[in-house]
Symmetry: none
Subunit: 240 residues, 4 copies
DNA sequence: GATGAATGAGAATTCATTCAT
DNA sequence: GATGAATGAATTCTCATTCAT
């Protein structure tokens, strides 16, 4: 009878248990957001009692942070390697922007969690998530700096503005999607944002425009197309 | 005796009472955010009891919405008139962007309230605040449309992207300021964003300044880019 | 049916409700001590829900403090008036000591609460209970000062020591009683402590005082000095 | 491989393990008090896991008791021998009082633990700590009894009162020091308490009356004291 | 119209102890 | 002998909203 009243005392290795809990927490957090998720609920979903949660995570908030960190680690683990395979400023820029948009497209619930619940926290800037984010931002700006260095881009636009327009624009664009109130195409959005930034920064200012132009413009476009072809295959989708 | 046993509050005209309550609510909400503000606190600040709040506002949430609406009404009451006085696409664009940034600069607490607390609500898109916002957005895009119409701007950039980059960029730029963790200059930011958008959209590409340079110059740049692609990665990095 | 599920919503004036809660809290606290009493229990005893407790008392701790303050107010309300009616240093001293002992005798549970639970709190010295206590202590020491002033008492005994021996002694004496493990007679204890203090302070007594005295006193002191001087330490240990 | 998968702790002899745990427990208890110390914390400090604690100590409470017992054993191991080396009632009394005060002065954290946390427990009187304490008390009262026996002290003062005033007074005096809110000098306090007790008990000075006894009587007492002396060296510190 | 007492379900978190391995 | 995962009941405190007066 006692056995009946205390049926489960399965002893798992730490990592496994942590994994269970994080999986459960991710699920619940995604579905309902942070505030609306209760530790009780997460514990049930993880198949443990509430106390067990606290063996592994000091607070509910820490649990969220770990979940988000794991997400970041999975999602952003390889962009640096991938970026190295992309040639040409426009392509490299687009890659970073597209990657960012893709993540938001692929896991809007998790992104909503990050954007609406984690980021507004006062301690956000001290969190590792902020740091991971910053690294991504810096990688993106590095591409812009390359463009400036090789004379493709003007050097009189504050990088902070560039950063804000890229990431703010991307976020604004995905807003409705995160709320499950609209769709967007990461490809089209990436093209749009990249073009805007590219032309906005372009020395002389013609961007990726399809606009008819003189021979010079057409030549420039040809060069850009060439740029997209040399490195590993990552084609500018809009072409062809 | 009566006064002693029942210090009943004066009966005020409805509008006056509503005004008292909204003033108090605005103050408390601004200081502590929505969740952290309690109705009790607001009632005290308004000099009424909690029950009275509910005579005028069905829920705490409605109270916030009214407060924000009032804010919008005050802030955005006259931009349309002012805009009519501004000539030139660049100037008109900059005016709208600057106005937006100025509001965030001038009342970061209220803006944080809107951005972090009101907007994430599921019902946000049904609220009048959303509508007011949309009107501003549309006015801004109207300027862009004028630019397209008069040939200053290309017509192949999705307006949604333009909108997202303007307002997302502005919001991203003011992020730290809303959190009281950093400053920004509305003037400089407005210049930056406007220039980026202006040049990004420019037909033929001359931006606000930055005269393009002759065809030869542009060809030279294209060639330089090509040169940068031929060899192995990084070959030209240290170049001038 | 709804009426059945929500049977009690009796609306009492604030003071009455506060009284009910304090009465209930006093009862529970006395019976089980502070830590062992739960707010749930107190709420039930008061006939309200837990939330109601918190309308009137910000924390459980504040509730205890209020209960103790009320106790002090009742108990020590009139000692000053009564003391004025007592003549003679010994009698006045005994009155203050007896009063103190009487309180502990009369309400050991409450006193245990104060001594074991309230007083050890770090914030105790900032509490009003501490202040009330101090006033009593000072009134007692005022009697000693009178004795010094009129020549009955020596003036070379630190008042702090006098205070500690009176109140520490009283407390130590009542220790077992507070734990419900022994009895004591306030009258006898008051006599004992008062006599000890009285003779201990008496001018003309011999103590270890340095006070100049007649020849007899000086002789006595000489003897005591002798006592302290004979032979090396331990010399006689194994003797006899 | 084995080491990696199971960093099992060394198997220590029982005494050594117990010693480790008690040292750790003493440290933690002293720093944070009993309630605020968790077994987890103690285990970490001891370099073992929680389960190991329970192999040696049935409960957390037992652990505290053992720690305190050890403290008592160290501190009070030799007072009886030392006392035998002190001559004269005043000196012997002062020695016992001073010793007591010194312990509180030297290890206020441990004493606070005993006074505030261990002693209020219902089972305290059944604990060995209580017994050890009692022995000290009895040794002190034995000195008083000697004083009565040799006529130095009156015999009409209840010993319980004497005990209470000595130890209660001492405790009250050290109160602030135990809370780290004040200082005291064991020497001065010992002088004060001893003097008060000594004169308070002195034959010749009884109670409410001023009656001192004639010079002859007092001299006789002094002589009797001298007669009782063999005389090891333990000087009255205040002299010279 | 105004009051303000009462609600009550729920939230996160704690930790001494057990016992399968 | 040692481990350390798991327990799980219990705790204080919150607060938007209602409604009898």
């Amino acid at each position: 009878m006692k056995a009946a009243s205390r049926p489960r005392r399965e002893r798992l290795p730490r990592d496994e248990r942590v994994g269970q809990i994080m999986t459960a927490a991710r699920k619940i957090f995604r579905e309902k957001g942070y505030e609306a998720s209760s530790t009780a609920e997460i514990a049930v979903a993880a198949g443990v009692v509430e106390g067990t949660l606290y063996r592994y995570f000091p607070t509910k908030r820490d649990l969220l942070i770990k979940v988000v960190e794991e997400f970041y680690a999975n999602i952003f683990s390889d962009y640096e390697a991938q970026l190295r395979g992309v040639r040409g400023t426009w392509n490299r820029l687009r890659f970073m922007i597209w990657k960012h948009l893709s993540v938001m497209h692929g896991d809007p619930d998790m992104c909503r969690l990050i954007v609406h619940e984690l980021r507004p926290w006062p301690q956000y800037r001290q969190s590792s998530v902020f740091t991971l984010n910053q690294r991504y931002t810096q990688s993106t700006l590095a591409v812009v700096r390359e463009g400036i260095a090789n004379g493709e881009f003007r050097d009189d636009m504050p990088l902070r503005i560039v950063r804000d327009m890229i990431f703010g624009g991307a976020e604004h664009h995905t807003w409705a999607h995160l709320r499950d109130e609209g769709r967007f195409s990461p490809d089209e959005a990436a093209d749009g944002i990249t073009n805007m930034i590219y032309q906005g920064l372009a020395r002389g200012g013609q961007g990726n425009s399809e606009a008819v132009g003189g021979p010079v413009k057409r030549l420039e476009r040809a060069v850009r197309r060439l740029e997209g072809l040399t490195g590993p295959r990552r084609r500018n989708r809009k072409r062809a």
